[in-house]
Symmetry: C2
Subunit: 235 residues, 2 copies
Amino acid sequence: MGAICLCLLTIVVNFYNATVIAEACVDRLDLPPDVVIRRLPLYARSLRYLLQEGIHSVSSQELGERINVTAAQIRKDLSYFGEFGKQGIGYDVEKLLEQIEDILGLTQEWSVALVGVGHLGQAIARYEGFHSKGLRIVALFDNDPEKLGQEVSGLKIMSDDHIPEVIRQHNIKVAIVAVPAILAQSVTDKLVAAGVRAILNYAPIILQVPEGVWVRYIDPVAVLHSMTYYLAREE
Amino acid sequence: MGAICLCLLTIVVNFYNATVIAEACVDRLDLPPDVVIRRLPLYARSLRYLLQEGIHSVSSQELGERINVTAAQIRKDLSYFGEFGKQGIGYDVEKLLEQIEDILGLTQEWSVALVGVGHLGQAIARYEGFHSKGLRIVALFDNDPEKLGQEVSGLKIMSDDHIPEVIRQHNIKVAIVAVPAILAQSVTDKLVAAGVRAILNYAPIILQVPEGVWVRYIDPVAVLHSMTYYLAREE
DNA sequence: TAGATTGTTAATCGATTAACAATC
DNA sequence: TAGATTGTTAATCGATTAACAATC
């Protein structure tokens, strides 16, 4: 899913008419690779811990050791965004953290909708870690009539029917899907139709979404299954 | 972390004595790439859904469309393990599923320990999806004295002090860590010391483990933070 | 100044894709 | 047989690592 410049050159020729339609190459200035973007939040978190420990300066070597990444990779990753360090010294923890958070868009706050308030959804709604830098869960949806109107973590649970209205009202771009697999695609369709552009999906199913919508998966069972492969081969 | 044959050739020479110690190259027959192993559980799950739908034959093309992977990649991935299809026809869903599950070690059942029974831990313990192919949560641990002896999903919560004993008794190789970040490393150390070889970590911290122990991370906040990067750059 | 560490380029490594002979 | 689809090889693409001049 690298930033690919899709240049469409459609040539329509018929006997009486020759038309050349050339859609200009939309020049998305090309973004750093997605693998790099995915590592930035780990760098940010590690820097937050360093700050808590009262450490104000760090080298790529030291940072790398904490998160099991090579020093070269950290420097290369950061180089996509600018120059943040000082030769012979390293990085100022607070300054680098600020800059990474700015790059990740975490200096603004993103309103988040959570769909599905079962055991997992409740754990998510209650987890303080989610009320993290840049994220705030502002709406809960669930289809179960029993749950409607109940409060979790200070938020009233609403029916899925209110998705379009509420998403638009709050201008919500980010959603968490924690419904059973069978419902996940239809919930996703509703969210996307209402304007959501990034979805974190806990349901064990691959979602189909239109271009321009981001989906990431939380899939603990798949991850465990990938580890049993190695265990089955031990000794 | 590819399978690297570490050949140690240590040459000790001193004036009176010359010793050549050559540790034989331990010939781990080299494994398929880890990216491939990580995709196998997704193939397996998709095949289970196909079976539920009553579909008994599938081509790499069709399977790929369901999980957003190219047909070539599926065929290449499977080729690391053998030949499972028929030219002109495709794959027998049931047979391929069985074989992948066998490769992943899911034909045996793996006992799983869960450490940390807060909101998240309870959701994990109760989630039926975890009582999935090949996995069974058999022990719950938590340090909170209030929780000791309470039952969740038919299992009594035990003190962390019982980790060594219980892990050994049940011969547990797989554990899920769902404790606060500050406790995650020490819990991990206990688990590993007791014989655990695969850890699924929900705490927002990178764990340090000895060679031969597998760790994977569930990190929804980092994943969300990596998506806000793109949202911040829209239009 | 000497030592340390950055930012960047080039070399290496690894994963994905395209293509096609084999064959059901 | 003709059409479809596999398994595999070679080509391409992309990510990681090594190395080092620049410089604090």
